[in-house]
């Protein structure tokens, strides 16, 4: 237990940060360089105003016709993404670790709020799983790796919920929780989870094309 704890909060945590940040920088810069070499038009037509206009419409719930046609998905996906980001950053149990290790701290969430948000993430993952299994248009696209990614994302929240509520074996589950969080971070640069960094660019580019050349809305 002590050795595992030391390892996964020590060397392995550093490895995680290096892989996550280094991997993201590597993937992003290699795409950027490739784009500069091969996709000159992307830079030529990218337009800050139209890019932001498009991004704004797609970051507002029900801001696009697509979202209105899929109300359940819209509600779940917004709650999911908000909770996915806010909870781990602002839950007290994590902030105190930043304080202990890097002597920085910030606003924290009340436990009840963090707990509900964690539950939302888990419930959302179940919803996504249900979509993948039952909706034909999603099922057809789904590959085994999509299930793996869903599991990678859900795991830190399931284990976190477990530990917070002190279900059986929660001490050991803390180690699993730490590992699952690290696995998720390390997976980001190398899986479809990288969409978090690419969204502003893909959305911004199509927004620029629609706004600047096509003079039409893209939402």
């Amino acid at each position: 237990m002590h050795d595992l704890y030391s390892f996964f909060t020590g060397p392995f945590a550093w490895l995680t940060f290096i892989v996550f940040i280094g991997g993201s920088v590597w993937r992003f810069s290699s795409l950027w360089q490739l784009a500069q070499k091969k996709d000159g038009h992307v830079f030529e037509y990218m337009d800050t105003k139209f890019a932001l206009r498009s991004i704004a419409h797609w970051l507002v719930p029900f801001g696009s016709r697509s979202m209105k046609l899929n109300p359940a998905m819209t509600v779940v996906t917004f709650l999911f993404h908000i909770c996915l980001f806010i909870t781990p950053i602002f839950v007290f149990g994590h902030v105190i670790l930043w304080k202990e290790n890097f002597n920085i701290s910030w606003f924290t969430l009340p436990n009840a709020v963090a707990d509900v948000m964690t539950f939302i993430v888990i419930a959302s993952c179940i919803f996504f799983l249900w979509r993948r299994i039952t909706l034909p248009e999603v099922k057809y696209l789904t590959t085994p790796s999509d299930f793996v990614i869903l599991f990678i994302v859900a795991a830190p929240f399931i284990t976190g919920f477990w530990v917070y509520h002190q279900f059986a074996g929660s001490a050991f589950m803390t180690i699993i929780h730490i590992i699952s969080g690290e696995v998720m971070l390390m997976a980001i640069p190398f899986t479809k989870l990288f969409h978090m960094f690419l969204f502003p660019f893909t959305r911004g580019y199509i927004g620029s094309e629609f706004g600047g050349v096509r003079m039409a809305k893209d939402w």
Partner: protein, 448 residues
């Protein structure tokens, strides 16, 4: 042949039977090595991060499905935009080009006949992934492999030989113009179709099928131009055809020649701007795709679509009408001028200026459904006609809804849309009449 045909009727494919000699003959000559080398050539030389990001970022959420009229009509996930990527570029990228001739056969059918490149899905994907671009890359690969549907390849051949889509010879072109001039003089005394006038305000270009099948459209345009006293001209030499099937087959070298010829034709005459007839894909080729291929950020000369031009005539009170067209009309927004150039508001101005009773079809404007004929799909000809009309089921439903609200005439300011909607209207017994804006304006025009 029949053996390889039955093999295509696999359960995993949305393709029933391939009866296209262009594709079947093309695939016969393929080897895995050739496929791999051509794919590598296209992927590494002609594409970059954009394709990679489009294929890799897709999280398989399926939200694009509702953006695609193929999916909505057929209710089959193989026809969703991401479903089509899965069956084409996603697998190619994953296997690094090591795919079979059989795969290419399927992929060609998907890319050429199951996607209208309408870009509606980009408005439904949260990431704005452009599946039309991915399908265009697939077409480019197929073109380089020589696996292109026969009928559209024939138009591409015509382009390369005659610089027009319909094998119209140089003398036939001038003959047709003079014939239409003569016909129109019966309606309008001293009417001229001025050829090769230098410094004209307006250079009028049309698509190959106009002189070939629909010469009355040139006649109508000439009457309108003369009625408003326009200082216009048409070219007597190649360059008059603004259409571009090479853009859709993936023959970009030929597309560049065509666009260059068209631009130069207008620029050599020192025309102030190009006005083009009611065609969508030609507009896309001149306004968006062709100019980029030639290195111009935007077209080197102002490009005005007929909707824009007619609207301008009404806004500037240059045109007189006897009375408004009073049969209830609905408007089909063509992808390439609405989603492609935002002309939907001007189109509505024009409808209101010319028609007394306008009924919207839903969805409309940027969200309108494609006619299922665009992107070169109708040009792939009879082997794919039934499949094309089947995928217009949702369009038929949309038209019938507008009909229930009272609309009797569909205005479709695009040649491709006319072809596609005609088939849909006939097949689904929609019972509506199709018109161009030019038809309506010609009908209500108050001739001096």
């Amino acid at each position: 042949m029949s053996e390889s045909n039955s093999a295509t009727e696999s359960k995993n494919s949305g393709i029933k039977k391939i009866d296209d000699q262009g594709i079947l003959k093309g695939v016969e000559g393929l080897t895995p090595e050739k496929i791999e080398s051509v794919i590598q050539q296209v992927i590494t030389n002609e594409t970059g991060a954009r394709l990679k990001v489009y294929v890799d970022t897709c999280v398989h959420c399926g939200l694009c499905s509702k953006g695609c009229h193929y999916y909505l009509s057929l209710n089959d996930p193989k026809f969703s935009p991401a479903g089509k990527v899965k069956q084409t570029l996603a697998e190619i990228m994953q296997k690094k080009g090591k795919v079979s001739p059989e795969f290419i056969k399927q992929a060609a059918v998907i890319a050429y006949t199951q996607c209208n490149l309408c870009k509606r899905c980009a408005m439904y994907c949260p990431f704005g992934l452009d599946v039309a671009y991915v399908m265009s890359v697939m077409r480019r690969i197929c073109h380089k492999l020589g696996v292109v549907p026969l009928y559209i390849q024939d138009t591409a051949h015509s382009h390369s030989v005659t610089m027009n889509q319909m094998w119209v010879k140089d003398d036939e072109w001038v003959d047709t113009l003079m014939w239409q001039e003569e016909e129109a003089q019966e309606a309008f005394e001293n009417l001229r179709i001025p050829l090769d006038i230098e410094g004209a305000d307006l250079f009028y270009s049309v698509i190959g099928p106009e002189p070939k099948f629909r010469a009355q459209l040139i006649f109508q345009a000439a009457v309108i131009m003369n009625a408003v006293g326009e200082n216009w001209t048409m070219p007597s030499m190649p360059g008059w055809d603004n259409s571009d099937m090479c853009m859709f087959t993936g023959d970009y070298e030929m597309m560049e020649r065509l666009k260059r010829c068209h631009f130069e034709s207008a620029l050599n005459l020192r025309a102030k701007r190009i006005v083009m007839g009611e065609c969508g894909h030609a507009f896309r080729s001149v306004y968006d795709v062709g100019n980029r291929a030639l290195g111009w950020r935007m077209p080197p000369i102002e490009i005005i679509h007929a909707i824009d031009y007619f609207n301008e005539l009404f806004e500037q009170n240059r045109i007189k009408i006897k009375k408004k067209f009073d049969t209830p009309v609905t408007l089909h927004d063509p992808c390439n001028v609405s989603r492609g150039r935002g002309l939907h508001d001007k189109a509505r101005n024009l409808v209101n200026a010319t028609c007394s009773n306008f009924i919207e079809m839903v969805p409309n404007r940027e969200h309108n459904y494609c006619c299922s004929a665009g992107g070169g799909v109708i040009n792939c000809g009879p082997p794919f006609k039934n499949a094309r009309v089947e995928s217009g089921k949702e369009k038929a439903r949309q038209l019938l809804e507008a009909k229930e609200k009272g609309a009797k005439v569909v205005i479709a300011p695009c040649h491709n849309c006319h072809g596609g909607l005609e088939d849909i209207i006939h097949h689904y017994n929609v019972g509506m009449e199709l018109k161009f804006f030019g038809d309506i304006i010609y009908e209500i025009l108050d001739l001096p």
